[in-house]
């Protein structure tokens, strides 16, 4: 077993002995189970309601029966998007921070690097271990959702729905991986454990809550209840003329919103789960092709943060300080 795999294995073992991580994971699991089971029960109730209506119509001698409505069973995971957006991100930040802090606190970082292990191998091991853990969490939650839909909801998913659900959990994995990479990079950059975690949480807060809000609250049309332009009695053409004068402002506002990985995660997830209308007839690949900007918004920061972690860790001399 190479040093990378050995470090990765130890990383998983350590995480499962981290009380904060286990408690947060438990919280996420409980919320997911409750939300998915309730969603599956609703699907079951709607299915039963449809069959009751059909049998009633048949008893009246009707032959022109309504078609089965699209119950979209995979939408039972829609609340999961919020849970991953908050608890999943926190879980990932704990992992990323703990990966570095525990070695500093125990004095093992010096010890490991005194052995024939390169710094990049150590970092790769930690990243691989934590990514495996996040992948396992995503997979477990995916299987839990599938089982609930099948057993509680009594619905058999089609092949396309299975692929869409799998891609949704892949997006959840990418989103959590991003915050794990963010926490790792900032823990390496700021050599004080508490400051690093605090800074990471503040950045997460800004990315997940402030930036998406800026998109809405700084929208000129949202400045008055009922719409600013409607209240001013402006037509659509006049509205366009006003907005043309504020093009720079509008571009900045839009760009700020696009900086939020949470917004990207929400958009691609809602499209895959069919929560956002208009994607019902698209194949999973068509959705990804349409939502490439959101996919890029999740992948790009991951790559940049991992590269940043390498650049910091490989050359810094003060990595041992606590």
């Amino acid at each position: 077993m190479g040093p990378i795999l050995r470090i990765a294995k130890k990383e998983v073992f350590d995480a499962l002995h981290n009380k904060l991580f286990v408690v947060t994971l438990g919280f996420l699991l409980v919320l997911t189970v409750v939300s998915v089971v309730l969603g599956a029960m609703q699907v079951r109730s709607e299915t039963a309601q449809y069959y009751n209506s059909v049998s009633y119509l048949k008893s009246l001698g009707k032959t022109n029966l309504p078609p089965m409505p699209n119950l979209n069973p995979i939408a039972v995971s829609k609340n999961f998007v919020n849970y991953i957006g908050m608890i999943g991100a926190l879980l990932a930040m704990i992992l990323g921070n703990h990966a570095i802090v525990k070695e500093r606190k125990n004095g093992t970082l010096k010890l490991i690097l005194a052995r024939p292990v390169f710094r990049d191998q150590l970092l790769n091991g930690k990243l691989v271990g934590n990514l495996c853990l996040l992948a396992a969490i995503s997979l477990a939650l995916g299987l839990l959702t599938l089982t609930s839909i099948k057993i509680v909801g009594q619905v058999q998913l089609s092949g396309t729905e299975m692929v869409k659900l799998s891609l949704f959990f892949l997006m959840s994995f990418l989103y959590m991986a991003l915050f794990m990479a963010l926490a790792t990079a900032f823990t390496l950059l700021v050599p004080y454990k508490n400051n690093a975690l605090l800074i990471t949480v503040v950045i997460w807060f800004v990315l997940a809550f402030v930036f998406p809000q800026i998109g809405d609250t700084m929208d000129m049309d949202n400045q008055l209840p009922g719409g600013f332009f409607a209240q001013m009695g402006m037509t659509r053409v006049q509205e366009k003329q006003v907005l043309d004068r504020f093009q720079f402002y509008e571009s900045v506002r839009d760009s700020i919103e696009e900086l939020s990985p949470t917004k990207h995660y929400e958009r691609v997830s809602f499209a895959l789960l069919g929560v956002k209308p208009g994607f019902e007839h698209n194949t999973p690949m068509e959705i990804l092709k349409l939502k490439w900007l959101n996919l890029t918004g999740l992948l790009l920061p991951n790559i940049l943060l991992v590269l940043l972690s390498y650049s910091i860790f490989l050359r810094r001399e003060d990595i041992y300080s606590t």
């Binding site: 009246l60 390169f118 710094r119 990049d120 998109g215 049309d221 659509r236 053409v237 509205e239 366009k240 907005l243 509008e250 571009s251 506002r253 839009d254 919103e257 958009r267 499209a271 956002k276 208009g278 994607f279 007839h281 698209n282 349409l290 939502k291 490439w292 900007l293 959101n294 890029t296 790009l300 790559i303 940049l304 590269l307 390498y310 650049s311 490989l314 050359r315």
Partner: protein, 277 residues
């Protein structure tokens, strides 16, 4: 005759029918009583419009009854609904000597020939009695307008504009003037220009509008729809839906790719310069 006598028996339902034509031509309700033999009442409407009949049902029996409401002989593409207090119903309970006023809505299809359509309202009572009421609607083609062509596969980048054509046809028998398009758009979308703004079409004639649509920068990628109706002085077309796929500008992808490439090259150069530790 024996059947007709049965209908007159006090234990059975007496069905009084009031037909009310709600339209610009008639302000007041027109009531026609059902009698023996039943009357055939008719209203005249253009294709695509809705006909509303008001029916007064009276239970003259000494016990309450449940009535199943259906229509028969109505062509399959006509949509019928019985409404009580604006709620669709398929059955109705009437107390002894009580009565209820119902509305029957018939939605005429857009593509339908002019002429008279005969159909029946059928009431099946819980004791097995069946009552029928013949009705008729006359479809005129004096004024009729339809959207005959619109884009089916339009792709637009967010923040950019698109031009497309909408073709309308006068399918009625009279000249239509002041034909213009009416749009229902997603939030912040804008119709910048429609050329020409208004059209006049002779019977059987077709005309096209060129539409200039502008999308906001903030529009997320996805599948959207704009709804269009052609309106004239005396006619209104059915609603047409134009599906539009919104895509994000690919220049963002080039920017993102360049950024990753630069960061990757920078990291490699950094390691080469400083060596592995």
């Amino acid at each position: 005759m024996s059947d007709l006598r049965k209908l007159k028996l006090p234990l059975l339902l007496a069905v009084l029918i009031c037909l009310m034509l709600i339209g610009s031509d008639f302000a007041s309700a027109q009531k026609i009583k059902a009698a023996n033999p039943p009357l055939v009442s008719a209203v005249s409407k253009p294709a695509g419009s809705e006909i509303q009949y008001q029916l007064l049902l009276q239970n003259t029996d000494t016990i309450s009854h449940r009535y199943q409401l259906t229509t028969s002989l109505l062509p399959t593409n006509y949509r019928a609904a019985f409404l009580l207090d604006k709620q669709a119903i398929s059955q109705l309970d009437i107390s002894p000597s009580g009565s209820q006023t119902l509305q029957l809505d018939i939605q005429l299809p857009q593509m339908v020939s002019a002429g008279i359509n005969l159909f029946k309202v059928v009431l099946n009572r819980d004791d097995g009695q069946t009552f029928t009421l013949p009705l008729a609607c006359t479809i005129n083609k004096d004024y009729a307008l339809s959207i005959t062509s619109h884009p089916q596969d339009l792709t637009v980048l967010s923040g950019q504009s698109a031009r497309f054509d909408i073709t309308v046809a006068n399918t009625g028998n009279n000249l239509l003037e002041q034909i213009q398009l009416q749009f229902e758009l997603p939030h912040k979308w804008l119709i910048k220009q429609v050329i020409p703004q208004k059209l006049a079409l002779k019977p059987g004639e077709e005309g096209s509008f060129q539409v200039h649509l502008v999308l906001p920068n903030s529009q997320a990628a996805g599948n959207e729809k704009i709804k269009i109706i052609a309106n004239a002085d005396h006619a209104r077309s059915a609603q047409a839906e134009v599906p539009i796929q919104v895509q994000k500008n690919p220049s963002y992808l080039i920017g993102a790719g360049s950024l990753v490439l630069l960061a990757g090259l920078g990291t490699i150069y950094y390691f080469r310069k400083n060596g592995r530790r």
